[in-house]
Symmetry: C2
């Protein structure tokens, strides 16, 4: 029989990481773009070192912030251990953005003219186990009597296609804006960050896929958080952002929960 | 907090069934359309009893044949426990054929004008765990030192849109025809069944999705088998078809394996 192709080699490890699996908090944190690591078989995808460490490969700082939030909220955290350059787990398999051959100003040679088989390999190796793990985790929490608030944590680059972005933290939502509304109200005029609704991206850009898959159908409270990555480039910045976001989430979820209990 | 929606109720059970999980044979059997059972939440989908027991709901006889083959080949068998009327697990989420509002001559009222959230719910509840289980099983077999020959087992209706079909067993393949070629050659003129290549469907109809996802990328030998369902409507027919197919698979895989060993 012909030798089988294997996607991951021994040093690659698994695609999905779960931290604080026994967390008792309401929040389930998800980081689709946590890592810039490439499976060994892809080498550099033909990219320069600049590109390989840039925001096209991952969301710098997002995992560090999510880990701090995981501690503060006693929240389970699920993240993808490989770069979105190979497969962007926040996009469905049919989306051209799942595997890009151009991202911002970078051409990605290793993603050009891929066969259907190669796309399937990436889908089954990276996307299916990742979104499957989120599904399983939500089901397991339900079985343990825990409700779930789904919170995805991202970062964005300050300068995109040469344009500077003023927004510092984006609070993103799809058709269910309950939690996002509350978070935007709760900060009032007092936020140390410049917050915006559905900036620098919104649902029309296809960025709410994970929320759409798991939160909207089940009626779970949900939000996607985007932090400008220059603000979380070091530990002090990561700590400040995590403190702010954990407090904001805790208060916003608290009032939503309380209102519902009063109401019914 | 709002009550969560759950897809499966207690009596529904799990979407994926795995039988003979410790099977030592080369073959991994998959049955996407094994069952006509609907999750309780969907009632009848607005369909008549005739439609609910017809081939639009499942592949009658396919699971029974696959179970016999599982014994004969000591093969692990993975099947979907719910009807393709809710989600056809042999189709990717973007395909209009994944959730049909019309199938052959039947309108499916419960599938009309679905929201994106409802489609996502079916995708995460039925498709992700099913294709994820196949992925996991192939990986686990590899870890145990077992290669995998992926064989999907289906049945088709004798009369479709009023037309009678002469083919009795279809041997279907996508771009990798190694095993299908060998099976079609092996029978020569002596088959008790009328066999055809890529009939009554073929890859252009999108029916090779499971093979495309798992077998083609990894270079696994693979084939999709379609048996006309009037031939496997009772135990005698199921036994005869399983005997024939198990022998044909065993011989065909044997020669392919042997040739490769000689060659390399």
């Amino acid at each position: 029989m012909l030798a089988e192709t294997t996607f991951f080699t021994e040093n690659d490890g698994e695609p999905v990481a779960i931290e604080n699996a026994r967390g008792r908090g309401d929040v389930l944190l998800v980081c689709e773009h946590a890592s810039r690591r490439l499976p060994k078989r892809y080498g550099t995808l033909g990219l320069s070192e600049d590109a390989l460490v840039s925001h096209i490969a991952w969301d710098p700082g997002a995992l560090a912030v999510a880990r701090l939030m995981s501690k503060q909220l006693d929240a389970t955290l699920i993240y993808q251990r490989f770069s979105r350059l190979v497969y962007d787990c926040n996009r469905p398999p049919e989306s051209p953005a799942a595997i890009r051959d151009v991202s911002e100003v970078f051409r990605i040679p290793g993603n050009e003219n891929l066969s259907e088989a190669e796309k399937s390999l990436r889908t089954t190796s990276l996307y299916l186990p990742f979104q499957g793990a989120i599904r399983d985790e939500i089901a397991a929490r339900r079985a343990r009597g825990l409700q779930t608030v789904l919170v995805t944590v991202h970062s964005f680059t300050r300068v995109y296609f040469g344009q500077e972005r003023a927004v510092e933290i984006g609070i993103l939502h799809d058709t269910d804006s309950r939690l996002a509304d509350r978070m935007l109200q709760a900060t009032g005029g007092t936020s140390p960050y410049r917050l915006e609704r559905n900036e620098p991206y919104g649902p029309a850009d296809g960025v709410t896929h994970t929320l759409e898959l798991h939160a909207l159908p089940a009626g779970l409270l949900n939000v996607m958080i985007e932090v400008r990555n220059d603000l979380i480039a070091d530990e002090a910045g990561q700590g400040a952002a995590a403190d702010f976001l954990s407090k904001l989430l805790r208060e916003s979820i608290g009032t939503l929960t309380k209102n519902n209990k009063n109401g019914g």
